[in-house]
Symmetry: C2
Subunit: 405 residues, 2 copies
C-alpha cells in the first residue's frame, strides 16, 4: 500500500495552474514561455522527489527513479489548448509526481521503480502527440520540419529555445515495463452514473470521412424539381441514412458524428451546386469500423446518380489502442478496494497512452469531469475525486509491482 | 397585324448591350454611370419613335404615346446584376420600343396606344423592384431612406444625380389598361421541351423559412450517442422529411429548395451545438402554400425534443401574382398564329410584372434561355427566338387592342 497525500497533490496542481493561469482556466500552449517555465518547474519538483529529471530537446520532461533498473512510467502532458482547463494533462503528470514521492516515502522497495513524464504538445498546437511519439520513436522523417501551428509558426522555430537541451529521451524497452495515465474523463458518463473511477478498456479508433457532392447550382424558382442536380439533397439523404442505419451496425460504445455540413453557394433561392459533410466513426473494434465504413461507402456510391457526383475520401484513420488487460484488472481491483466500483469504458478522445500503448502495456484511469466539460476554462473535477483518483492509481501500481516481484 | 422588324430590334438590343458591355455579358447595375447613360439613350430612342419620353427622379424611363388617351404599357428593366447577361430585362424594354415603332409605322390607329417603360433597380442592387413599385405607388414610407447596397452605399446617394429630374412617373388608372412584359425564361423548360414561346400563368408566391436548432456542442468521441443534444441531426431529419413528404403535397409546378445548411461549430469531432437551414417553397396557389407551410411547421415542432430546441421563422412571404386570363389567352393565340404552340408555365422568378400585375391586368411572355442560364455573362437566346418572341408579343397586343375597340 502506498498512501498518497491529497493536500500536497492539490497544492502542486494549483501551483502548476498558475503558469498561464487565467483564474479560472489555463492558457499554456506547447512551447510558449509559460509552458517551458512550467516544465522547468516540474523538473525541479521531480528532482526534489528524488528522481533524475530533465527537459529534452523536444520539450519532454522525464524523471527517472535512480534506484531502479525497471520502472513503471506514469505521465501525461502539461501543455494545454488555448484558454483551456487546469486538469487536462496536468492532473496525470502531478499524479505521477505525488505517487513517486509517496512511493519513496513508503519505504517500499523492489525491482521496479517509478518514472514520471510530461510529454510535449499532446494538444497538437504544432504536431499532436509530438512528445509521446518522440519518446516512442514513431515520428516519421520530415514531420517535425513540416509541422506548423494554425497561425503559420513553424515547429522548428518553436524548438529553437531547446537547442542546447539533451537529445530526446527515449522509451527504454529494458527498463519501462508499463505506462499508466490518469486523466479527466472529458465526457459525461461518470457524472451521469454517479461513479468516481473510470477504467479505460481502450482508446477508440477513428475513421473520419469527407463526403462531397457536385451537381449544378440553379435558380430555385425557375428550375423544375425533376430537372435539378441538387448536391444538398443528395447529402441530406446520406446523412438521414446514417442516422437510421448506423444504430444497426453499432456496438454499445460505438459513436459517430456528422460534425460539419455546408451547401454552396448557400442562398435560399439557389439549388445547391456543391455540398460537403464531415462524418466520423469511433470504436475499439476494427472489424466493426470496417463494416460501418463499407456500408457508408456503398450508400455514398448509391447516391452517385441523377447528375450529382458524390464522392467520399478518408482523410483520417487512427487505429484503436486496447489497454493492457492485466492493468485494467489492477486498476479495477484498486478502485474496488477503495470502495468504488469502476466504470469500464473506452476513451473516445486521444491521449498519450494511445502512443505509449502501441509499444508498452498501458492503462488509463478517468476521474469525473463536472458537466462533462473540457478544453474550456470551466473544466473541473471535485477535489475529493482528484485525490481518490490518485490513491486508486497508486494502489493499482502497487498491485502491478507486487505481481512483477 | 403589326409587323415588327427583327433586324432593327436586334441592332438596338446589341447597341444597348454596349453600355456596360463585357463581351460577352453586361455590367450595368442600377444607378451606375453606364445605367444612367443607357437610360438616357433609351429616352432618345423612344422619342425618335414618336413617344413623349423622359427619365424620372427614381431612374424610371417612360415613353407615352402622345396620340392616345389609353395605352397598353410594355416594359421591363435595363439594369442588370453585376457581371450579368445582355437580355435579362433589356429584351423586354427593346421589345416595347420596337413594337411602339412598328405600331406607328403600321398606320394602325385606335383608342389605345402603346407606352414603354424601363423600370429602375429590378435586380435589387439597392431595393428590388424600386422602379415598378415607385410607378405603382406601393413603396412604403422610409424604404428609400433605409435602402443600401451590399457595399453599404445608400440609395439616397445613388439618387442624387437625378435630383433635378421630373417627379416620379406614376401609373395612370385612367390611361393604362394592361401591362405586358417579355423576358428570357431563366430556366430550362422551353429548351428542354423544344418549344419557343412560354406564356406565364402567374408569378409564384414565395414562402421562405429559416429553421434553427440549438442543442449542445460536445466532444464527439467522449459523448455517448444517447447523451447528445445534436442540433445537426435534428435538421437532417427535418430536411430528409422535406425530400420525402413535399412531393405528396406538391402540384405539378410546385418547387421547393433547401438552399443553405450549416452546422456550428462545424468540426468533424464536435457534436453540432447549433444548426441552421434555409427552406423555400414557391407556387401560384396560396392554399397549397398554406398547407405545405403548416405541414413543415408541424414537422419542425415534432423535432423540438430530446434537449434540442428547434424553431422556424418566415423572413419572406411574397404573394402569388396571377396573370390576367384574357392576356394569357391573347398571348397563347398569338403564339399559335405564328405556328408555335405555347408552353403555359408559372414564373418562379420575380419580375416587374409581379408589381404591375397587382394593380393592372398583366401578362408575360418567355423566350428560351440557352442552357437555362441567366444572371451570368453567358446568358443568351437564339436571335430567331428573340425576333419570334417580339412578333408574338406584337400580335398579342394587336389582339388585345382589337378586343378593346
Amino acid at each position: 500500500m502506498i498512501a498518497i497525500r491529497g493536500d500536497r497533490l492539490l497544492d502542486d496542481l494549483r501551483t502548476l495552474a498558475r503558469f498561464g493561469g487565467l483564474s479560472p482556466g489555463v492558457d499554456r500552449i506547447a512551447f510558449s514561455e509559460t509552458d517551458l517555465v512550467a516544465r522547468r518547474w516540474l523538473v525541479d519538483k521531480l528532482a526534489a522527489a528524488g528522481l533524475e529529471a530533465g527537459l529534452d530537446r523536444v520539450g519532454n520532461v522525464l524523471g527517472r527513479d535512480p534506484a531502479a533498473a525497471k520502472a513503471i512510467l506514469i505521465g501525461s502532458h502539461t501543455d494545454t489548448v488555448p484558454r483551456g482547463g487546469w486538469l487536462d494533462g496536468a492532473m496525470g503528470v502531478i499524479f505521477g509526481l505525488e505517487i513517486a514521492r509517496a512511493f519513496r516515502e513508503s519505504g517500499t522497495s523492489g525491482p521496479v521503480g517509478i518514472d514520471v513524464a510530461s510529454f510535449q504538445d499532446e494538444e497538437g498546437t504544432y504536431l499532436p502527440f509530438l512528445g509521446s511519439r518522440s519518446f516512442c520513436g514513431t515520428l516519421r522523417d520530415g514531420e517535425i520540419a513540416a509541422a506548423r501551428a494554425e497561425d503559420g509558426a513553424t515547429l522548428t522555430a518553436a524548438l529553437a529555445p531547446l537547442a542546447d537541451a539533451p537529445a530526446p529521451f527515449r522509451l527504454d524497452p529494458a527498463r519501462h515495463v508499463a505506462f499508466l495515465e490518469a486523466h479527466i474523463e472529458q465526457g459525461p458518463r461518470l457524472e451521469a452514473s454517479g461513479k468516481k473511477i473510470g477504467v479505460v478498456t481502450g482508446i477508440t479508433g477513428i475513421r473520419r470521412f469527407r463526403v462531397t457532392a457536385t451537381g449544378a447550382a440553379n435558380h430555385a424558382g425557375t428550375t423544375p424539381m425533376a430537372m435539378r442536380r441538387d448536391a444538398g439533397a443528395a447529402l441530406v439523404r446520406i446523412a438521414a441514412w446514417i442516422g437510421e442505419a448506423f444504430p444497426g451496425f453499432a456496438a454499445a460504445e460505438t459513436v459517430w458524428n456528422i460534425g460539419a455540413m455546408a451547401f454552396r453557394p448557400g442562398a435560399a433561392n439557389v439549388v445547391p451546386g456543391e455540398a460537403e459533410m464531415a462524418v466520423e466513426i469511433r470504436d475499439l473494434d476494427v472489424a466493426l469500423l470496417d463494416r460501418m465504413e463499407q456500408a457508408l461507402a456503398e450508400r455514398v456510391a448509391a447516391e452517385n446518380r441523377g447528375g450529382v457526383a458524390v464522392a467520399m475520401v478518408r482523410p483520417t484513420v487512427v487505429a484503436p489502442t486496447p489497454m493492457d488487460p492485466s492493468i485494467v484488472a489492477a486498476l479495477s481491483a484498486a478502485a474496488e478496494a477503495q470502495g468504488h466500483a469502476p466504470v469500464l469504458l473506452p476513451s473516445g478522445a486521444g491521449h498519450d497512452a494511445m502512443e505509449l500503448g502501441r509499444v508498452l502495456p498501458a492503462g488509463m484511469l478517468f476521474v469525473p469531469s463536472i458537466g462533462g466539460i473540457s478544453h474550456h476554462v470551466s473544466e473541473n473535477t471535485a477535489d475529493a475525486d482528484i485525490v481518490l483518483g490518485c490513491q486508486v492509481l497508486a494502489d493499482a501500481i502497487f498491485r502491478i509491482m507486487q505481481k512483477m516481484s
